[in-house]
Symmetry: C2
Amino acid sequence: MTTNPVVKSAKRGPYAKSKQRKESIVKAAHEVFAAHGYRGGSLQDVADKVGMSQTSLLHYFPAKSDLLLAVLDWRDRISGSGSGQGSVSVPGSGSTEGLGEAREPEEALVDAVIRQASFNETIPGVIELYTVLCAESLTENHPGLGYFTERYERLRGGYARKFSVLAGQGRLRDGVDPARAAANLIALWDGIQTQWLMAPESIDMAACLRDYLQLVVLPEG
Amino acid sequence: MTTNPVVKSAKRGPYAKSKQRKESIVKAAHEVFAAHGYRGGSLQDVADKVGMSQTSLLHYFPAKSDLLLAVLDWRDRISGSGSGQGSVSVPGSGSTEGLGEAREPEEALVDAVIRQASFNETIPGVIELYTVLCAESLTENHPGLGYFTERYERLRGGYARKFSVLAGQGRLRDGVDPARAAANLIALWDGIQTQWLMAPESIDMAACLRDYLQLVVLPEG
């Protein structure tokens, strides 16, 4: 069954244009928030960057907080793109999906973390946005707090399950608690990103994360 | 030799009063910056909190950035107060002095870190200020960037020396690199503070840090 191509194009045109418009606003907001923070970056700055009025911008995102959440969502999609299959969700990446399904969980975990950390070195602006907004979300009545709090909870749960699987295989070093190791891996990753942003020539993020995982996860033997 | 007590009081009075005034401004700025960040917190908010005009405030701190540096300096003094002798300099504490001088460096290091981490749980406002301002310093032309960059460099150097001493005594686990272990300890500490601020009931900062140090530092034997 075919439909009238004119009608189809008329229907798809405005939608596609609106989607494109929204995307360019989100990208501009990403730059503005990374450079000035959420509070320091104004809607006017974002509007100026995409060449529209603030009123037009508010048509797409009725409140500044809507724009923040769209930016965080976009960041999740962008930053996960380097991790491929079996990706881990980490400071700088997307979902926790695939964490528990790999056949060799220790290789999958270690490799995925190292791969993501190496990829993150190619997207300093995205890492900076994450670092700035995450800490800023701790300030009074910040609309991003829920996002980050839930994110950490989900990440801790995902890594804890992964470490528990390894523990069941005798692959976790004696005395390592899967839940605390999960919190620590995420914490170390967050913290090393901050140091790397300030002194990229001194900090090798992938090597630092590998060091930690080699302390926690025993080689197969 | 005695001096005229009236003259003495006239000389000391204004100085003491000015010092007290400055301190109350710094404390108010600490609250404002912790709640809204440096960019989000206005000089007017600070002036309102201490009940003076913005013009009077500018008499004590000619620029907002001067006030930021005074707050960071004050934070260093305050947050080190729980660590006592042989204190370590960490996210939430003061100087690196005393790091290399202890007779039992591993006990001194581990104990000092745990003690400081436990103390930090009693000063969430100070930890929040540190976390918020550190990340915000990554935004464009932020006056705090130099402070935090130098701080990390100094901290990494201090801990690396400490871990090197342990390595020389055969007390560092095989394969652990003192410099990267230093960066990782600081990173983990920073990151776990963020998670703790968001979910204090789920995160035991001292236990997390102890876990890491027990992986890196071998018991005497």
